[in-house]
Assembly symmetry: C2
Homo-oligomer: 125 residues x 2
């Protein structure tokens, strides 16, 4: 059994999702122990939603799940890196491929690229 | 001025450092507002050490600083991604290129690769 350090952040660890093919960093979310164990068991990235206080299987609503290809653990076992196959090509709830679609440019934020999907269509808002 | 959401995590945001050339994820650390502003001002990755409760210019002791080439901000402005030029080729205090040198393999952790430097030499422990 792999023991991660959930104590450092009150039961949570940060989890970075990276596209396993392009190397693009897609998003950062948090896992509690249950989310970690579910991810290991199912092979689908499962996080913990702090706002909703519940497990969150990424993509369950949108269909844009993350199939986990590889998991890395950092030097002090308090952060994980998931190399994932992002179904639908977009990890962000805004429709962008990556949540990191804003770049700092001369003291302001510039949006890079275009959304891949329309959140209104996907989430039926 | 770029406004990040430091409130969500009690004054901190997670900061991911990624090698700007290879795309390898090197480490995750935290920034408070001061660390963020120092990073913007100096172009050198500056974090906040939770254990030492102080600003931490990455590489100040080891010489392995991170020159920031690009900064990305995520969709809800509570996480940043630094694309860095890692001086010395190793981001991890253990001497490995990346902090994520352990891979989950069949329920256990396997170490990948070899350290680039000997921490005993670099930190004069």
């Amino acid at each position: 059994m792999i023991e991660l350090n959930f104590e450092k952040m009150g039961g949570l660890i940060p989890a970075i999702a990276q596209d396993y093919k392009t190397g693009d960093v897609l998003m950062l979310a948090f896992m509690n122990r249950e989310a970690w164990e579910e991810t290991l068991k199912t092979g689908k990235a499962t996080y913990y939603s702090r706002t909703r206080d519940t497990l969150w299987v990424k993509g369950l609503t949108s269909g844009h799940i993350q199939n986990v290809k590889e998991i890395r653990v950092d030097c002090d076992s308090d952060t994980v890196l998931l190399k994932v196959d992002q179904v639908g090509g977009a990890a962000c709830h805004t429709g962008y491929a990556s949540c990191f679609y804003q770049k700092v440019d001369d003291g302001r934020l510039v949006t890079l690229g275009e959304p891949i999907f329309d959140p209104k269509e996907v989430y039926k808002e």
